[in-house]
Assembly symmetry: C2
Amino acid sequence: MAKKVVQDAERRRRRRTKQGLVLSHALIVETALRLLREHGPQGLTARRLGLALGADPSTVYRYFDGMDDLILALADELMGRAVAGWETTGDWRRDLRDLGLRIHATYLAHPQAAVLTAARVSGRSQEIAADEAILGLLRGAGFPDPAAVRIYHAFIDQALAFAALDAASLTLPEPALRADRTIWRATYARLPERTHPNITAVADLLAARMNSSAYPAALDLMLASAAAELAAAPRDGGNEVVQSV
Amino acid sequence: MAKKVVQDAERRRRRRTKQGLVLSHALIVETALRLLREHGPQGLTARRLGLALGADPSTVYRYFDGMDDLILALADELMGRAVAGWETTGDWRRDLRDLGLRIHATYLAHPQAAVLTAARVSGRSQEIAADEAILGLLRGAGFPDPAAVRIYHAFIDQALAFAALDAASLTLPEPALRADRTIWRATYARLPERTHPNITAVADLLAARMNSSAYPAALDLMLASAAAELAAAPRDGGNEVVQSV
DNA sequence: CACCTTATGCCAACAGGGTTGACGTTATTC
DNA sequence: GAATAACGTCAACCCTGTTGGCATAAGGTG
């Protein structure tokens, strides 16, 4: 198995090898992310990855336990990048807002990586570190455990969900995910006005709107709701619907 | 092409054919959804679909232009089911809340169909009908076009995003998407307390929370925010962040 | 130094994926 | 009855992830 290989190879610096190749987890992840960004999900295959690395496709399996494992590593890497440079001020609301925007921005910088948002939850290092930070922040702010967990989940879910959908709007991946502006305009503007008056009337608006993000506003709403909950009752309030505004 | 085939075959009732097979768009979609629900994304392949239909895999291509086209049809079918039975009362906020919950529930009834949420936007009949209804509702309520489009998008995005993530929490699909309770508990509870005090302290809560949905609360927040915007200013307010509560 | 174990890379091969084209049969239409 | 479209099968193609065997390099130990 590649488990022990991981630990040993990680702490060692190799000079050169048979064909002069020097692969590593970091290099493979970096290359995979590049392929994903430049050529979309279709571009990230075992064979293409091997080609981009100048190595045989099967070599990747010396470092990762299959393609699924690699994908989890990619998601973990992105989470690590999102958290990198994040500094907590002690103001949980401000800190979470900052982190949320960082996660969102990181995924938007790798639009094709929207696939990865479904691959969360793995017990990998970067993710767990981020989770620890978030939970610690919430508990430190005075949220009881159930509330902290609830907010923690809502926070992560929201960030990843919006990132995935925003990214899907920005990119032009495989036909099944096609959602770019051109498609929208072409699809909606071509509808007969008689049968679809509402859509045709706002076809251009629909197309133009595909580029903007609704996440910051939604994030602020969620944080405001959490703050109101904290201010109202120090004790936990269960899972009931929060009616505000 | 299958385009003309579609129209002609749809309006006709065929008694029997060569081997006694009577395929149709509806039957194929129904079977594909069943495969997806029972065996997950891995279970929905051209070959398995052919097997389940008792037909040759290539036969599907007489009805759909490739697997992508079929997947879009599945998403369209689900949207149609979600909207079926939906009755508008004229109260846009109440109606949208109802529709949102319907969409959410429909996708939760087909957990494995979370993949389909990424396949939105296609110009297919059921979807366009739903879009028309939503946009008509918002414009009728007095929202100017830009605001209506913005809310329309936020509404759909939110419903699909939460459905996808909630469904991912409920199911146990391929390794890359693994996110079930067992995994959560096993993953997080096994962490050393010394290095991960926060996570280990709430490990059970984390696992238990995977089954509940945060969508209704988020939906209410969004609708409340939209209502506040409508009450405050009849004219459109652009894309600025809404600070409420 | 020799020696053995581990790490690392390549190669060939397998099962299974989507998709296509030719072909035959059936159903419909004129 | 003849022509045409629809429908289903079959064999084949190229792609995918993945594996086992083999060769070489590296690292540690005598």
